[in-house]
Amino acid sequence: MRVNRNPLRRYAGYGDDDADTTIVQPARLDPARSAEVCGQCHGIWTFRDAADERTANAHGLPYRPGDVLRETRFVAQPKVDGSSDQMRALLAADPEFVRGSFWADGQVRVSGREYNGLIDSPCFADAADPERTMTCLSCHAMHQSAGDPRPTAAWADTHQVDAGREGDGGCAGCHAPIAADVAAHTKHDVDSAGSRCYNCHMPYTSYGLLRAIRSHTVTSPSVQESVEVGRPNACNLCHLDRTLAWTGDWLRAWYGIRPPALEVEERAVAASVLWVLRGDAGLRALAAWHMGWEPAQEASGSGWTVPYLGELLGDPYDAVRYVAAQSLRSLPGLGNLDYDYVAPAAARREAAVDVLRAWRSSPAATERRDARLLYARDGSLDTAAMRRLFDTRDRRPLFLRE
C-alpha cells in the first residue's frame, strides 16, 4: 500500500497491462495461499494464545493475504488436530466449541466457514498438481467475469459462482472421464438433480442464515455418515421418503459400498422422518429445509411432509420453526401461510393446528399410505410411532456458530 501512495507510480501502472505485483491477487497465488485469503474470514479459528489476542486487539490481525494463515492463528480442523494441545485447551475453555461448528467426524456443519470444509476435501488436501487443486476460485468469482451473461443480481444469487461453474462445470475440468458419461457414474437420468455433482458430493448439510447451505467438504454419500456421525446423507436429502436401508442397498448395488448395521427404525422409517422427530435442532432444520427443496419434492412428493413440518412449527428453536414455515409455504395451497415464528406459543400452536386441519381435508393427506412415512393403510398417521420416535429426540441444547 505504501508504495502506491505515489500517484506517478499508480498512473504509470494504469498505462501498462502488467499486473501490479504489490497487490495480492488470489488467482495468482498457489492453491493453499489462495484459499487462505478467503479462509481468513470464512474459517473457524482462534488466537493461538492470549498474547496473540492482545497483539491483534492492539494492532489488528497480523495476517496479510499471501501469508501462511496458520502462522498467524490456530485454524480448527478436528479431523486432523482433534487431540492437539490447542484443541484440548479450547475444549477445556469451551466444551461446545467443536459440537457447535462441526459434525461428530470433524466436518464443518455451519455456514460461512467454507474454508474448513475445503481443506478437508480430497480435491484440495490430496491434490498434487496446483492446476488441478480445488480452491475457492475453482467455483466462485469475487468480481463478476466480463463474459458472464447473467445480470449481476443473478450471479450474486448463486453465491457468486462463476460463469460456467454452475451445474457440473466446477468438477468437470478435473473429472473429465465422469463428465463424458455422467449417467454411467450417477445412475440417474443425466438431466436430473441426481446427476448434478454438487447434489451428491456437496449436499446441503451445513446450516446458517436460516437455511441449509452446501457442504464445502467434497465427500461421497454414505449411510455410515448418517448412522455414525448423524449427518444426513445426500441420497436421503433428495429421497426424503426412503429409508437408510433403501439407500444402503442402492449404494451397495451401484458402488459396492457396504452398508452399516441398522436399527429397526432405520430400516423401517424414512430417514427424513427420523431426522425430524429424533434429530438435534440442526438436523431438524436441515430436514425441514429439504422438505421445501424442489428437487426433493420432485423425487419424494410433498403432501406427506405437511404433518412433519406442522410439528416443527412448534419446535423449541426459532430457526427450526422459521425454516419449517418457509418449506410449508413452498407447498401447494400454503403459499400465503400466516405464521409468525416468533409469535407467542399459543398463536403458533393455533397456526399449526389450522395447517393440519386444512391438510387433513385435502387429497394430499391420503396420497401416500406408506408405513415408512408413518402412515397407516387407511391414510391416518401412526401417531404412536411418531411419539415413540419423538421421545428419543436429541434434546441437547445446540448453538450452531455460523
Binding site: 500517484p7 499508480r10 498512473y11 494504469y14
Partner: protein, 148 residues
C-alpha cells in the same frame, strides 16, 4: 510592441471589467447547468453517476460544478472590483485576467475530464489540468491582492 492586453482586445480597466462580468455570467450559466444535470442524475438514480463503482466520477463532476460556479462568482466580483481605483499596471492586469480565465477553464475542466474516464479510485489523466489551474488561480489572487 503591442500594448498589454491587446491580444484579448481589452486595454482599459473598463474593458477588463466588461470582459470578466461577461465571462463570469457565462461561467455561472454553464456550471449551474452542470449542477442541474447532476441533480437530475441523482433524481433518476443513474448508475453511471451514482453506483459505488462510479464514486470517483461523482466526486470529480461535483468538484467541477462547485469550482466552476464559484470561479464564475470570482469573475463577477473581479469585474466589479475593477471599478474601484487601484494600483494596476496594464501588464499586470493582462496577466491577472489571463490567469483568472485560465484557472476557470482548467480547474473545473480538469475535474470534469477526470471523471469522464477514471481508474477505480483515481481520476482520469485529465485531472492533471487541475494543479495547473490552481497555480493560475493563486497567481491571479496574488496579483489582485497586490493591485487592490
Amino acid at each position: 510592441m503591442p500594448p498589454a492586453g491587446a491580444t484579448t482586445g481589452a486595454t482599459t480597466p473598463a474593458d477588463y471589467a466588461r470582459r470578466h462580468l461577461r465571462f463570469g455570467w457565462w461561467s455561472l450559466l454553464v456550471f449551474l447547468t452542470l449542477g442541474l444535470v447532476l441533480e437530475t442524475l441523482h433524481g433518476f438514480k443513474v448508475g453511471f453517476y451514482l453506483d459505488v463503482a462510479n464514486s470517483t466520477r461523482r466526486l470529480m463532476w461535483t468538484l467541477a460544478h462547485a469550482h466552476g460556479a464559484l470561479l464564475g462568482l470570482v469573475h463577477l466580483v473581479f469585474g466589479l472590483s475593477l471599478r474601484v481605483p487601484g494600483e494596476r499596471t496594464p501588464a499586470r492586469l493582462a496577466l491577472l485576467s489571463r490567469a483568472l480565465v485560465g484557472a476557470t477553464v482548467l480547474l473545473p475542466g480538469g475535474f470534469f475530464l477526470g471523471g469522464v474516464t477514471f481508474y477505480s479510485g483515481d481520476p482520469g489523466v485529465g485531472v492533471a489540468l487541475v494543479p495547473v489551474g490552481a497555480v493560475l488561480l493563486l497567481l491571479a489572487v496574488l496579483l489582485a491582492a497586490r493591485a487592490s
